[in-house]
Amino acid sequence: MLVKLVLMLTLCLLTTGFSFNDLTPDRINAITSTVMSIGKAARPLGDDEEYYVGRAVAARITSTYPLYRNSRLTEYLNLIGQSIVLHTDKPTTFGGYHFALLDSPEINAFACPGGIILITRGMLSSVQSEDELAAVLAHEIGHIIHRDGIAAIQSSRWTDALLVIGSNAAREFGPKETAKLVSLFEGSIDDVFKTLVVNGYGRDQEKAADAAALGYLAAAGYDPQGLTGYLNRLKQAGQGSKGGILTTHPGTEERLENVREAAVASVDTAALPRRNKRFANMTR
């Protein structure tokens, strides 16, 4: 990264008639500061900033879909989620992973940037085993790790943010800067929310999240076939109704084909009956 920045700066200096005699300590500091700013603009959001974006997205989702407060089921969901997360490339995030249930009969699931994963009661009712539920969570974890939500934010907002914060990382922004950043933040949340709730991710992003989910499931010891089972439930649900995840996750048949074709590592399924039993106990 630094090499790229130095090359970029050198090119800029040479093309603007730069003279070595112009270099004073103050100018060196100014140039260094500018180069660091360019680097900052090119860099994706930090984990901490992604956390604040994710919180805001979750705040919008939960204003539409209220929380389903069932501590037993919520704990179960979190135990499954954490069992998977520890086998991913990113087992820890700034604020950690948290899984919660939404009180809606609609079949849906949302991956908010930074690690908040929300699934509806309807989704929970649609799956028929712990391994299928694990597949739902693994897919959403895939979206978080691939930063698909963050990718939905228009790139022009990053350059706008740079214009506001300038070359120095201020410890606290003034009212004017804060107002501009809040407006940019609001726009960014709209971008992510629209993708998660209205338009859905792109086909490639869905494919990549499914591929990642297969790997996470196998690594955690869950049967990757759980993903096939979950997609079959979606397909069945799609025959009867529209809306929810069927709006934002089209092409279930295509996803099923991709999953069937993927080379999936086989896992020991000896403990499957034990997991099925605890799923039945939890969801009855």
Partner: protein, 147 residues
């Protein structure tokens, strides 16, 4: 030009410490999850790197040696002269302000934007945790793979 290049390169010079980038984390006695926690660390803490073992850093902090997962620290290395070595040197806000500007101050402004937002539910969600012992038992009982 040489002075400039040198000053830029110094910013990237390999140093002895890495910084914790998660709100809270742990230095463990062994390089695996569920290994006993030897030291709790927080955002901004600086840890001295002793080596690498797979996805884990072997680190030293406050007189304790142990392991921390690579996803919990900034891979960029920091000068050891930096503030607050392993003592919670920089605050959460200071670290977050170093990026694009999306931080608690901006969140506070967004909350006042009049949009339909349920931050109370979000605060409830982020308080959900499972303790490590329960997770370990859950993994074992379900015949899952120990991380």
């Amino acid at each position: 030009m040489c002075i400039l290049l040198c000053s830029l390169c110094c910013l990237n010079a390999a140093a002895e410490t890495i910084r914790v980038t998660t709100r809270e984390n742990a230095v463990r006695g062994d390089c695996r999850f569920f290994a006993p926690v030897k030291l709790k660390v927080a955002l901004g803490d600086l840890l001295t790197v002793k080596g690498r073992k797979g996805d884990w850093y072997l680190v030293s902090a406050r007189g304790v040696n142990g392991c921390i997962h690579k996803s919990a620290v900034e891979s960029r290395r920091f000068a050891s002269s930096g503030r607050g070595a392993a003592t919670g040197g920089s605050s959460a806000d200071e670290v977050s302000l170093a990026g694009k500007g999306f931080n608690p101050q901006v969140e506070a402004g967004y909350r006042k934007s009049g949009k339909n937002l349920n931050y109370a539910a979000v605060d409830e969600i982020v308080r959900i945790t499972v303790d490590e012992k329960s997770l370990e038992t859950f993994v074992l009982q379900g015949g899952l793979v120990q991380p």
